[in-house]
Amino acid sequence: MTRDRSPFAVALLCCAAPLAAQDFLVRSSRIVVAPDTVLTDSALLVRGGKIAYVGKDIPAEARAAAKTVDYGDATIAPGFVLATSTLGRDDDLAESAVAFTPDLRAAEAFDPWLERLGTLAGCGVTSVGWSPSPRNIAGGIAALVKPGAERGKVVVPDLFVALSLAGEARNRERAPTSLMGAKEMLHEALQTARVGVEIGPDVAVLRQVLEGSRRALVHADTFAELNAALELAEKFGFTPVLVGAREAEKALPRLVQSGAGVVLDALRPENRLAALGLPARLAEAGVPFAFGGPPDRLRLSAALAVRYGLDRKTALAALTRTPATLLGQQAAVGALRQGTAADFVVFQGDLLDLDAAHVATWIDGVRLFVAGANQTTAAAGER
């Protein structure tokens, strides 16, 4: 325990200076800059919330001017990217009067003071696809958001469009109430967008999907729902990202052929073996996938998937690089290289082992979580 704490003692000591002007040299014996690239005895230079230099690229003068934070033999890895979440705010993120609202913007429902944001750093989550709820067939446009030292922020206000064929999109009190109704609603809308006669903000969003300029995340769990989503994608020529995908294994050949990515729901130890082994089988088939679900379950999901046959590189990618890529944000988040946001987690041990200790989380160059410390205090210390 004492040994574990020693790095923080160093870390906490050098928190006095104001952040904006201060560069940090974050050292560690093991830095996983990307799932397949590990630097040993290296450092990151954090400047203005971004990674300015990595490893031996760090100029000597910058190294000398920066405050050093030494994590000793702990491991640094990119922060986790949660591809899609409502952070428990479904009521505010589903326009319940109608099921088809592709032009609503989740960014406009984003409360920077949302309490749940404060818990993300403790889960290792550094950015979230803040998305309209899957309760609507076309929920609206998601935004990339991040927790901050004081309040959260919208980083990219205009991300993917959230579509849903999942059971929760079918509502007894408004159309559609059935899967065939849900698919028909989406089909008609895509058809309208393709024909190109009608104009309007809702049609425009779907037209962007057809043109490939906007990603579509489609919630679909059962075989029939996945099939419906993939059929629409094939017919209208777009590549979706499927969210949930509980029965993905049954639709695997079609899924592979479509090139679609998957955001899986959280795994739990009590899940059936088929569910626990699904990540490994998706990896084997070459389907890019990310872990999703509640933020506090991401690392557990990855650890369980590793226990049930997934290789560690893919598991780490499924927390970091893959979700970033599925959102089209791989240049900004999900990896540690020059120019990406300084979002990283520090673990004593391998973060894919459940007994590894979470040491710290940095978001945009600010330490928002320090093990054993009240996180607001930690953040305040930074400022």
Binding site: R170, S178, E184, F223, A224, N227
Partner: protein
């Protein structure tokens, strides 16, 4: 016993699927077996043709290659299955099958008139109803939307085994389901002040309201059809497009009407708009037989054995008679035996057996669950008979299929054994 055991072993040895521990196979199809198999020494009931006492059925590549008596030469290299005098019929076809998906997904309640809904989009190949159908020797089914909408949408014909609905399809747009009677209006209510917090405050709330919805839909479709003729550039809405196909005779309407007044209404509306309809679950058809015969309207006789009225809580007030099937046959009303949505329905082959007990000829009863539904659904070029060139969909029965002890010994779809016991 020893003989039947060896027979079973012989069956299974020719099957591509391995038998699970309980000695049964029941599952999805895999690839068609490469080789040719000859089923010899079988009593063949080919459907629409006389029985062959000691016949040979040769299948290969998923198709029926030849059928004949004992003199039919077995091709060299073919696997031979000695059926020991058992009966082979074509795979049974259930022309009104309530199952194949979660019931909630078969009724799009967003509106009462949803002609463009495709039941194929809701199908779940793992629905237990498919497994039950396979066990009962049923190899193709006509699945329609549920009975809670006035116009529910498009039905499809699928085989009962497979893992992908698209690969199971025999006919994609097979029918448009219209439902008369009490069921579509159930759950709807009138606004009597207060807050309107549900979509179910809507028409129809009565039987005549149900008919009004049908009439309005077809009236609008007819109007759209006339307008399109003037200005062909404006594409109709998907629902209107489906209804106009019915009006043009390109799509069969299936009207579910159980009681006498509903059957008469179904005939009247079809006549009014000039489209052909099939009447489904017509339990009161014996009261309207002459009119049905005059209109040459086919009846899907849902569960002729059932003495319960089909549908929710028997709200339709029909009077099922066990002799209906005989009356229809005598008066020349074309009919097909189905299981339909009746909760009291037996296996399809038992319904045919029941029809025989009530005066139908055995050949006619078997045709009513094989050849006739195939013709009605427009899939007779694929299945419904044992005839060269058709899909190798057939059932080996333990006894004569109309014998009360008969069970399917093995069921084959596209030449692949999908069930055996």
């Amino acid at each position: 016993m020893l003989r039947s055991l060896s027979l079973l072993l012989l069956f299974c040895s020719t099957l591509p699927l391995s038998s699970p521990a309980r000695g049964q196979t029941d599952g999805a199809r895999t690839a068609a077996p490469a080789g040719v198999t000859a089923y010899t020494n079988a009593r063949l009931l080919p459907g629409g043709a006389p029985a062959i006492a000691a016949g040979t059925l040769i299948v290969g590549g998923g198709k029926i290659l030849a059928i004949g008596d004992a003199t039919l030469p077995v091709p060299e290299g073919a696997a031979v299955v000695d059926c020991a005098g058992r009966t082979i019929t074509p795979g049974l076809i259930d022309a009104s099958f309530a199952g194949g998906a979660n019931p909630d997904d078969l009724n799009e309640q967003g509106d009462e008139v949803t002609p463009a809904m495709r039941v194929l989009d809701s199908l779940d190949p793992e629905d237990p109803a498919f497994a039950r159908a396979r066990r009962a020797g049923v190899t193709a089914v006509h699945v329609m939307p549920g009975t809670r909408n006035v116009i529910g949408g498009l039905g499809c014909v699928v085989k009962t085994a497979g893992s992908d609905p698209a690969a199971m399809v025999l006919k994609e747009d097979a029918s448009l389901r219209i439902v008369l009677g009490a069921e579509p209006s159930m759950g709807n209510r009138a606004i009597r002040g207060g807050r309107v917090e549900s979509i179910y405050y809507r028409r129809p709330t009565t039987r005549m309201g149900v008919v009004w919805e049908v009439r309005r839909a077809f009236y609008d479709a007819k109007e759209a059809l006339q307008q399109t003729m003037g200005a062909p550039n404006q594409p109709p809405s998907p629902g209107t497009e489906v209804l106009t196909r019915v009006l043009q005779g390109k799509l069969t309407a299936v009207t579910t009407a159980r009681s006498e007044q509903d059957v008469r209404t179904a005939l009247r509306i079809a006549d009014e708009f000039g489209y052909q309809t099939v009447i489904d679950e017509a339990q009161d058809a014996w009261l309207v037989a002459d009119e049905l015969a005059a209109a040459k309207t086919t009846v899907l006789l849902g569960a002729p054995s059932a003495d319960e009225v089909a549908g929710t809580a028997g709200a339709d007030g029909a009077e099922p008679k066990s002799g209906t099937v005989r009356v229809l046959a005598q008066r020349g009303v074309p009919f097909v035996i189905t299981t339909g949505s009746n909760a009291a329905a037996l296996d399809l082959v038992r319904e045919a057996m029941f029809a025989v007990r009530n005066g139908l000829g055995p050949q006619q009863a078997l045709d009513a669950i094989t050849v006739e539904p195939a013709k009605l659904l427009g899939i007779d070029g694929r299945t419904g008979r044992l005839s060269p060139g058709l899909d190798a969909d057939f059932v080996v029965w333990s006894h004569d299929p109309l014998d009360p002890a008969a069970v399917a010994a093995s069921v084959h779809i596209d030449g692949i054994c999908v069930f055996s016991r």
